[in-house]
């Protein structure tokens, strides 16, 4: 990665510091987040958007199509709206019906395509799509906010601002599948396209267009109910509404199962942070932009609500961190050398991890020129990393394991609290679940999602083997440690690929893993519903497709100060 003349070399933070679950569970969106990469690109390239089909009846049932046209290709969101009885509305994978279902079509669908999709997309996991589709997703309404907004608009009134803020979205997605799931196109089919190079761009585009559909649908329902009296949603209120997302355990296995990909996300952000910390002198305009966005981000923190005790405590700490940060900033001499490095060091001694990571993300904002180019390094284009080098010696393997999991030697893996949990997949729609090893009959179905425990087991088996023996021989005798050897070798190219905590301990909080992933999507408003389930908001504040410009295509993530 190239350093610019403006900065001097600062080391990236140590994986041992960054990859703790408590810190991963405190990450915030930043310039490199996938939503912002997408909206920046679409604004810069002047993408155009159309709605060629909106065929929805007065009960809210029908189909709609939204197209997004970039410089080389067009993508189409095909939306199906349904009339869902309340008792069927569940956010879990085991649900079988939803308020709305979607697919992102690669190109512009023909009528035959739409008919085919109508037979399959509403069924979600029970249906099949083809290589012409890039994602499959579904969404449920926030029942109380939906009814309130439809009722108000139908009467010619705007919805209540407090109710809007209390929920933040009219619909929330409960799964967005891509990368070949349910028969859709593989990632490899689109990975070479410039606009799809960064991770999850198809999925992020699908959600961006879903937000436009949801606004159209709620206004359509209000017109169906109120006739001529109905009014459209106030643009300012519409802009504050995002798309919710309800996420369960599925995302936790993802970051463990994709160590190179996850490393690339974390390493890009760490490299960005190191570059900004290396900036020798801060321009007054850069400082001014940072301070302005800090104020705007703080508004976002004020609006952030959660009912979960852990997040309530973290929010209280974050607010107190922001107050301490503001007091400190009043004293900071930004003309001194390396002011951002000094600021981050100050924060490490004074703020909670939630506050430190909030500040770290904000510090990147004035430095798009240093940071944004890292966005294209965040996908995994290195399948060779997974090939085991069996000529490596046992001693070398031991050393690699020590780097990633030396900390885990202190754990007594026979203690029930150290291995209390089991990650498994249920036969019920293959829902990922977390069970109690000593209370449920699930240990036989354990997924390999405890790399630290498995590293300890491999180290125990390796004790019998001399340092200079080849691991190919070890792995033939002990195939059960093959995945651990692979991960250890991957760590050579992916230093941020391993979580440095016990993922099966009695007190593990899976929401930390979910938040780490969701923060890279660009999610805000993390609101855990339990230790393994979190709701978030996406695109809150973003311009709708017709309003997207280079001026508003990036910093929309930070709320504008109230007029």
């Amino acid at each position: 990665m190239k350093q610019t003349d403006q900065s001097t070399s600062i080391q990236r933070r140590d994986p041992a510091q960054v990859m703790r679950l408590s810190r991963l569970g405190s990450l915030h969106q930043c310039r490199l987040s996938f939503m912002r990469q997408l909206t920046r690109r679409m604004a810069r390239e002047e993408w155009t958007f159309e709605r060629p089909v909106f065929d929805i009846d007065s009960n809210g049932v029908g189909r709609a199509i939204y197209t997004a046209q970039g410089p080389e290709r067009t993508y189409s969101l095909v939306a199906f709206a349904h009339d869902l009885p309340p008792e069927k509305r569940s956010d879990r994978v085991i649900a079988e019906a939803w308020d709305a279902t979607f697919t992102l079509f690669d190109g512009v669908p023909t009528t035959a395509d739409i008919d085919r999709l109508e037979q399959n997309v509403p069924l979600q996991e029970a249906g099949r799509v083809s290589e012409s589709e890039l994602s499959v997703s579904r969404a449920n309404r926030s029942v109380r906010l939906w009814e309130h907004v439809v009722a108000r608009l139908a009467l010619g009134q705007q919805p209540d601002a407090d109710q809007i803020d209390a929920v933040g979205y009219l619909m929330r997605t409960t799964a967005v599948y891509g990368s070949g799931k349910l028969g859709a196109a593989d990632r490899e089919v689109i990975a070479a396209r410039e606009e799809m190079q960064a991770p999850f761009q198809a999925e992020m585009l699908s959600v961006y267009l879903t937000r436009a559909f949801v606004r159209d649908l709620v206004e359509h329902m209000a017109r169906s109910k109120g006739g001529d009296k109905a009014v459209p949603l106030d643009p300012g209120i519409a802009r504050r509404l995002g798309i919710g997302n309800s996420t369960g355990l599925g995302m936790a296995p993802f970051i463990v199962n994709h160590p190179v990909l996850f490393n690339n996300w974390i390493m890009a952000r760490e490299e960005a942070l190191a570059r900004v910390c290396g900036v020798e002198r801060a321009d007054p305009e850069e400082v001014s932009l940072f301070l302005t966005l800090l104020d705007r981000a703080a508004i976002g923190v004020d609006r952030w609500r959660s009912e979960h005790p852990v997040q309530i405590a973290k929010l209280a700490e974050l607010r107190s961190d922001i107050a301490a940060l503001r007091a400190h900033l009043a004293e900071v001499d930004f003309t001194a050398a390396r002011p951002w490095d000094a600021l981050l060091r100050w924060a490490e001694g004074r703020l909670t991890e939630e506050g430190q990571e909030w500040l770290a993300s904000l510090m990147l904002e004035p430095y798009g020129a240093l940071v944004d180019g890292l966005g294209c390094c965040m996908s995994d284009a290195n399948p060779q990393a997974a090939r085991i080098d069996g000529t490596m010696t046992v001693g070398q393997l031991r050393d690699l394991i020590e780097v990633s999991f030396g900390w885990a030697r202190a754990i007594d893996w026979n203690a029930p609290e150290a291995c209390a949990r089991v990650w498994y997949t249920s036969e019920e729609k293959l829902e990922p679940r977390l069970g109690e090893r000593f209370e449920e009959p699930v240990a036989d179905y354990e997924q390999p999602l405890a790399p630290a425990r498995d590293a300890a087991l491999a180290c125990a088996a390796l004790e019998e083997w001399p340092d200079d023996s080849r691991i190919a021989d070890f792995l033939m005798a002990h195939p059960e440690h093959r995945h651990t050897a692979r991960r250890a070798q991957i760590s050579r190219v992916a230093p941020y690929g391993e979580i440095r905590d016990n993922t099966i301990s009695a007190d593990v909080m899976p929401i930390d893993m979910l938040r780490a992933k969701l923060s890279f999507f660009g999610a805000t408003g993390f609101d855990p519903r339990s230790d393994r389930w979190v709701r978030i908001c996406m695109y809150s504040g973003a311009p709708y497709p017709a309003d997207l410009t280079p001026e508003n295509g990036d910093l929309w993530i930070y709320p504008e100060a109230p007029a």
Binding site: P86, S90, D91, R92, V93, I94, S130, E131, N140, S142, L145, V167, S179, G180, K181, G183, A184, A185, D186, R187, V189, S246, G248, A386, R387, I388, D389, G390, Y424, T425, S426, E427, E428, L430, E431, P432, R433, L434, G435, E440, V442, Y445, Q447, P448, I471, A472, L475, M476, P479, E480, H481, R482, H483, T484, A485, R486, R529, S530, R532, W533
Partner: protein, 188 residues
């Protein structure tokens, strides 16, 4: 029905695990299956065939393949005896090539790869055997077929699904209620 290669990988890994492979071996079995499918060969049929043999008389092509790949070298004498489903050796051999090419022959089948491309022929190509497999270096690989979708036979896919199912925990009410931790209410 066609499947994405990602679906092939996911299914192959679970099926191999369900058939008793370690997780690490299952990952490599998945790599091999996908590699074949991405070159238009019936990788799923081969894996389903291999995993269907519970007490293997001959040598397991996945195990031999892993060893070849790990050591980055093929057997010195160029002969492997009594290999079941030898087509599964190819993806592993391909991982050892860094320039040059290798031809494997068994029965009336012949397959040449330069690591990336594959050209293959013969009615024994996707066959159980066991076969004695010979390995020759340096033959020219005519650029082969590539594919972005897999076309497994319904029977093979059903075999893989049934093996994969062994990795899924049975549905219980306790698991349904607590395992996903869906919180208080789905509605808001």
């Amino acid at each position: 029905m066609t499947y994405s290669l990602n679906e092939v990988s996911a299914m192959a890994k679970k099926a191999a695990r369900g058939a008793g492979f370690s997780w690490g071996m299952a990952e490599d079995a998945a790599m091999a299956t996908r590699w074949l499918c991405a070159r238009g060969l019936r990788g799923c049929d081969a894996l389903a065939g291999r995993l269907s043999i519970s007490d293997l008389d001959g040598a397991c092509s996945v195990h031999i393949g892993c060893k070849i790949m790990d050591l980055q070298q093929c057997p010195d004498d160029g002969v492997m005896s009594g290999v079941a489903w030898p087509i599964l050796l190819l993806p592993f051999v391909a991982q050892t090539l860094n320039g040059g090419s290798v031809t494997l022959r068994w029965g009336n089948a012949e397959a040449t790869t330069d690591g990336r491309n594959l050209s293959a022929s013969g009615s024994d190509l996707i066959c159980e055997g066991p076969f004695d497999v010979s390995l020759v270096r340096g033959e020219i690989c005519h650029s082969g077929h590539t594919a972005t979708r897999a076309h497994p036979s319904p029977d093979s896919w059903a075999v893989l699904e049934s093996l994969a199912h062994r990795t899924y925990a049975p549905a219980t009410e306790e698991s349904r209620l607590s395992g996903a931790g869906a919180g208080l209410s789905d509605n808001d």
